[in-house]
Symmetry: C2
Subunit: 391 residues, 2 copies
């Protein structure tokens, strides 16, 4: 089959799925989304939308029937159903093996460590005593994590001292796998987006400097303001990680810069990532287009940076309610500002509702402008109006 004729199925219809579809549509692809929310961000731009839970095996099989290749916008999905499909010969990218290894943060770290990639020291936790043991070995603080299903800081618990061990264990343990990691006191958090093709071709995006607030990504700054050597090293690690997981598609590798010579891999996501949103305005071919190219088997596009760029997330503010976006008109008076509104009908406090990017002649200039825009553009929740007829 001609690559360009492949029908694409995407599990997940959030903002990442939406942004994949916007790129797929330029190339004329037919896209089916699987997402439990009827009016999810991808809904209005999908050719078809299967409204079903991510773990609904029948729905995933239905998606497979409608698609020549299946991909996904997040990793906490029914890997067993995908595995059966893959055995039946269905094309799934990234592969089930990649997904299965990455989905579990312990096996992810193991795979990286085995290949000699530097990661914080880590260990499996079955009972609270294990944490004390690692505390003696790695020292405190320790990061306690659920091995699966964590994101945006959910499923993480920072155990600052020995006295917090039991509380941390009790907070996260529900007969699930837990792990601890050595706490890395880093100079900077950075991330790399990389796309790898079916033919093992790899393209790497410029390094982004990430700033988190309350464990949620707040800002990405590109260039990252690190030395050329560190930039090179981070890119090299990005390549290695793609090969470790035999990744096909766009992956994100989050890293800690400990010092001028030391980069730790923190976490890997087998999909386009929030910290790569800057690539839409900042790079020749963005992370979503390269993801689509990779999974259908097309050669990958140029990841060059067009100009310095800053991305800031727009989280739901004030209160939960009907989504209202304010301040875009004022913000657009500033050159180089692009606001993305995901189209989630309900705004919730701290929910990712949109983001904006600001380009500039330097990262500093872009950041200055971005901080002005931050004061202008907000997404808030409003009380839902009920129509007079009660509808």
């Amino acid at each position: 089959m001609n690559n360009i004729e492949k029908k694409i199925g995407i599990i997940g219809g959030g903002q990442l799925g939406k942004m994949m579809i916007l790129e797929a549509k330029r190339l004329g692809f037919y896209v089916t989304t699987l997402d439990p929310t009827f009016d999810c961000p991808s809904h209005s731009i999908s050719d078809e939308h299967i409204v079903a839970d991510f773990h609904d095996k029948n729905a995933i099989f239905e998606l497979a029937q409608k698609s020549d290749v299946i991909t996904y916008e997040f990793e906490h999905i029914n890997v067993q159903a995908l595995s059966e499909l893959e055995e039946q010969g269905k094309i799934i990218y990234p592969s089930v093996k990649s997904l299965r290894t990455i989905q579990n943060k312990y096996s992810q770290k193991q795979a990286l460590a085995e290949k000699g990639i530097l990661v914080p020291r880590f260990g499996l936790v079955c009972k609270a005593e294990d944490i004390y043991k690692y505390g003696e070995k790695f020292g405190f603080p320790l990061m306690l994590k659920t091995c699966k299903d964590g994101y945006d800081g959910k499923g993480n618990y920072l155990i600052k001292t020995k006295e917090m061990v039991q509380a941390g264990f009790d907070a996260l343990y529900k007969n699930n796998e837990l792990m601890v990691e050595e706490f890395i006191s880093f100079e900077k958090e950075i991330s790399i987006l990389a796309t790898r093709g079916i033919n093992k071709e790899i393209v790497i995006y410029p390094v982004g400097h990430n700033i988190h607030e309350n464990s949620i990504l707040d800002t990405t700054i590109v260039p990252a303001g690190i030395s050329a050597q560190l930039e090179e090293n981070a890119k090299e690690i990005g390549k290695q990680v793609m090969n470790v997981f035999d990744g096909v598609g766009t992956f994100c590798v989050e890293m800690f810069v400990k010092d001028a010579n030391t980069i730790y891999v923190n976490e890997v996501a087998p999909r386009p990532h929030n910290s790569g949103h800057y690539t839409i305005e900042g790079c020749r071919v963005n992370q979503f287009e390269n993801h689509i190219r990779a999974v259908v088997g097309l050669p990958l596009g140029d990841t060059s940076l067009i100009c310095p760029v800053v991305m800031i997330n727009l989280l739901g503010q004030e209160k939960n309610g009907k989504t209202k976006v304010i301040g875009v008109e004022e913000a657009y008076k500033i050159t180089g500002v692009n606001v993305h509104v995901y189209g989630k009908k309900e705004s919730k406090i701290a929910r990712k509702m949109g983001h904006f990017t600001v380009t500039g002649n330097s990262a500093e200039e872009a950041l200055d402008k971005a901080n002005k825009v931050r004061e202008l553009v907000k997404i808030i929740g409003c009380p839902v109006k009920i129509a007079q007829d009660g509808k």
Copy 2:
């Protein structure tokens, strides 16, 4: 109402409508399309699609009910229905007055000439004798045109000599308005895209050099390879034209460069235009996004060129039939190539099915690469396969 909350109605669901929607969706707009073809390019990415003829007044009124602002992707539509809606207070951009004047090439030229903008000499034709008269005045060849509904060379007839007058008249006259224009022997055809806001703010895109084949745009090259002075003059004319028509939205002004000092305005389109497709990869904010920004009342975006770029149209080839795209995989091995497939189900010979752009370090390099890509990527019609059950 907050600009960002406005629901947008678009008359026409072809490639221009599709590209408008792709930009509107990033900003989270709700979009309804009116187009007679169920599976038109805009269909799968519109929130709603009213399947109806462009002249169907009821359908246009239905679109108005679903939209806070109406715009359109081509100009041969029911201006009377729009006029009634505008009188009722509906927001339509570009305005009905702009549309009415531009829709008729004679009144378009009159409006330009009245404001002192240089256009080829022209005159209204009611009978064949009028053409002889203008022939004596302007000389042959003469361009005979239908005043309305012409595009891509349809409705144009080049009268090379006196002997062809009657044949030309007979070919185009069907109780409709005709006009003649002095034939300009030009050095270069160029066009300007310009966007004007509700507040009369104007942004102008870099000049493109257009090459037509069989009266259909084939290639746009940017920069246009003209002197800085001509570039400046063309941009100034673009601004003047936007003001003449009180345009809101993105317009295209096609021009003839006669010599180093003389630019004629050929035709104006009150909408984004094929010769501005290069802006998607070539400019910071493309013609479609600026169109959307203008019609909802947002400040306009940066039209700066990112790098030299060439656009080539992909017309249907070989025969009419089910659309098949070939050669994208080979083409994507060349850096800087982006293929756009409009998603028209049926390929027809000479129908606009897609386009590609190629970026480069210089226009020459981009053009070299583009000519390679032209040999690779083709859209052809295949015989439609009939399923065994006859469906």
